[in-house]
């Protein structure tokens, strides 16, 4: 196979660019543990309401024994329940979300919070909100004709002003 010098040089450039990008991604993934959400955990979406972690009275914000703040949400047409949550800024928070019906996605614009919500599986994602403010929680996967109307509200406050409900 004959490769022109120019081509050879270009192959080096292209290869290096790709290697640099990939190196950054693999390095941050492994060294800093930066991953998108992802570990398979199944749940029966049809019986969330019958009890357990996603039963209605268990939803919302709570502080675990280890001090970790945990938010449990159910995504169902058309909202994320409970519809209003309040969280402290600058604190790592773990979201656990399950769907009661179809596919949904959640994201809060201008933050790192985002995950798909697939019926039959639990989505877990940990993030923190650097800035206090009001953020909409938006559904970003088509879930039916009311998809546009699927949103809830997140209020992020200074940690001093934040009081856990329970």
């Amino acid at each position: 196979m004959h490769i022109h010098t120019l081509e050879r040089n270009w192959l080096w450039v292209a290869g290096s660019v790709v290697a640099l990008l990939l190196g950054t991604i693999v390095y941050t993934a492994i060294a800093h543990n930066i991953h998108p959400p992802g570990q398979m955990e199944t749940i029966d979406s049809a019986s969330l309401h019958l009890g357990g972690e996603f039963a209605e009275d268990q939803l919302g914000v709570r502080v675990g024994a280890d001090g970790q703040i945990r938010v449990t949400l159910v995504a169902a047409r058309y909202g994320f329940f409970p519809r209003n949550i309040e969280l402290p800024s600058g604190t790592p928070i773990t979201f656990r979300i399950a769907s009661a019906d179809v596919l949904h996605g959640i994201h809060a614009p201008m933050t790192n919070l985002g995950t798909m919500i697939v019926p039959g599986y639990v989505s877990t994602v940990t993030t923190l909100f650097p800035k206090p403010g009001e953020y909409p929680l938006l559904c970003n996967e088509y879930c039916g004709l009311g998809h546009d109307h699927m949103w809830s509200k997140l209020t992020v406050v200074d940690p001093q002003n934040w009081h856990p409900d329970r």
């Binding site: 292209a14 790709v18 991604i25 959400p37 909409p136 996967e141 949103w151």
Partner: protein, 540 residues
């Protein structure tokens, strides 16, 4: 060589493709108008999502499949100088695909299949929609089979000879599509159709998404490869030069074939049903598949530079101005490359494992794929049509300037449509919404961008209609083309000998098998090893 009957056959494919394109463009313009909220009278999520579903299916499945089949038949006959193999079977494939399209159109247009072109369960469409989609794919399998058969026949008749590049690439695409469509075929045949018919009560949406991702990435290369074939085999000659390197072109097509298949999890980065390890493995493959595109950008630019210098261009940039910008194929290639560069940057953001979180399922995503699909890819489909039209119809294009105006307006429309769309995504707007109802100040910032998109959509719609007009008018009223210009057999006669790895696919099929087993084996198996919970059907 294309005989008269085969020319007609190819034209049938092109007209189905472009009719779908025309209808879908009208829907596209309606969509940008509806979603902006400018005209309260036309607000209706029911109509909107029926429209987006139809627009997506027509553009992504109908335009592409029929165009690729028609172009493939023409390429095979022209490049191999062979008659079409088994025309009767080929017609069967065509009518199967047409029947599938019509079957799916009924529920789509009547709002019984507003599930979008990705048809993710557990939202369920009318059974006819799934059956129609299946027939369309089965029709395209007939095409794959004929392409591979013609390639094999030619090799048998020319032992040791190098398969002409356009046919090598077309065969690669046929093989790619057979591999790629297997994922969605498994999903539709074993999950969705039995479920839609009521034979089973539930489907597992996680498994369905995994199978769909198997198809979803390589399908974009199935769409793109015809455009690359034009870039490699038509553009250099049209510019007055020659291809810089035939061998590296083959390397690029092989890499596209092998590497685009085992990487579909970049569509599932944000999904809960797959683990981080496999997602990272697919991320690595996703970046590797950028290499053949970088290679293509280089080879095509180098070929254009040689052409520009032959035509008297001097200096670092002078060759660009010396290129024949008034040749539709060259113009489309230049505009296509510009959009590819812009779209490539966006693609790197999407592919970036963690950074994807910022843009996932936001308006950025349709912005990105309209740029690279409706832009980079479709503008070359248009150029290919202009290039082939005289040979297929026996008539010259009725105007030399109208195609240039059409290509420029398509480019400008794409830029005006997709730039604000990307910004909307960065401002947090989700994709696939028909109105903005969020009670949030943030959304005030979205309005001007939505209005700009209407302008882009209007320019594109006008350009799409002009495109159809040029083709129809030329076919009916164009001046008879002189016979000498009609011979479209490729001047790039079967070239210098190449390594047998770059002249065949056996080894590559094995490599694909291994990579697919490695990257999809366990991720699919896991659904059968764990207790999973299926979903019953939901309406929408």
């Amino acid at each position: 060589m294309l005989d008269t009957a085969s020319k007609k056959f190819v034209l049938y494919h092109f007209w189905v493709a472009f009719a779908a394109f025309g209808l879908a463009s009208v829907l596209g313009f309606y969509q940008v108008l509806e979603r902006s909220g400018l005209l309260p009278l036309i607000e209706s999520s029911r109509v909107y999502f029926a429209s987006v579903s139809t627009h997506g299916v027509l553009m992504a499945f109908v335009l592409t499949t029929f165009f690729i089949m028609g172009f493939g038949y023409a390429t095979a006959c022209n490049a191999l100088r062979m008659p079409l193999w088994n025309p009767r079977l080929a017609w069967v494939g065509f009518w199967l695909a047409v029947a599938g399209t019509l079957l799916a159109a009924v529920p789509l247009l009547s709002g019984k299949a507003s599930v979008l072109y990705t048809f993710y369960p557990p939202i369920q469409a009318h059974t006819l929609f799934y059956i129609g989609a299946t027939l369309l794919v089965v029709g395209s399998w007939v095409w794959c089979f004929i392409m591979i058969r013609m390639y094999l026949d030619w090799k048998k008749q020319h032992p040791g000879a190098t398969v002409p590049l356009p046919m090598y690439a077309t065969t690669a695409n046929a093989i790619l599509w057979l591999w790629a469509s297997l994922g969605v075929a498994l999903e539709v045949l074993f999950q969705l159709i039995p479920w839609a018919l009521g034979w089973v009560d539930t489907v597992d949406p996680g498994l369905a998404r995994t199978l769909f991702s198997w198809t979803l990435h390589p399908i974009v290369y199935f769409w793109l490869i015809p455009a690359y074939i034009a870039l490699y085999s038509r553009v250099p000659q049209a510019a007055g030069g020659r291809l810089f390197s035939d061998e590296l072109a083959r390397v690029a097509f092989v890499m596209l074939l092998v590497l685009s298949l085992p990487i579909g999890f970049h569509h599932l980065y944000m999904d809960p049903e797959q683990g981080s390890g496999f997602k990272l493995a697919h991320a690595v493959g996703t970046f590797l598949v950028a290499l053949p595109t970088l290679l293509t950008g280089f080879t095509v630019t180098a070929s254009l530079e040689m052409a520009g210098r032959t035509r008297g261009g001097v200096g670092l940039m002078g060759w660009i101005g010396a290129l024949p910008w008034r040749n539709p194929v060259v113009l489309a290639a230049l505009l296509s490359l510009l959009m590819l560069i812009a779209g490539g940057f966006g693609g790197i953001v999407n592919a970036s494992y963690a950074m994807n979180t910022m843009v996932h399922n936001t308006a950025w995503v349709p912005g990105h794929f309209h740029l690279i699909f409706a832009g980079t890819t479709v503008i070359l489909y248009m150029a290919i049509a202009y290039d082939l039209w005289p040979g297929l119809t026996g008539r010259q294009l009725h105007s030399t300037s109208a195609p240039l105006l059409q290509l420029w307006t398509w480019f400008i429309g794409i830029i005006v449509l997709t730039s604000p769309w990307h910004v909307l995504g960065l401002l947090g707007q989700p994709r696939r919404i028909s109105s903005v109802t969020y009670n949030s100040l943030l959304t005030l910032a979205w309005t001007p961008y939505e209005l700009a998109m209407i302008v882009g959509g209007a320019i594109m719609l006008a350009s799409a209609l002009l495109f159809l007009h040029i083709l129809a008018k030329s076919q009916k009223k164009g001046v008879m083309a002189p016979a000498s210009t009609l011979d479209q057999t490729d001047s790039a006669e079967s070239g210098a000998p190449v390594h047998s790895l770059l002249n065949g696919f056996k080894v590559w099929n094995l490599v694909i098998l291994v990579l697919m087993l490695a990257n999809y084996g366990y991720p699919i198996l896991q659904f059968f090893l764990t207790r999973t919970y299926g979903s019953v059907a939901f309406g929408y």
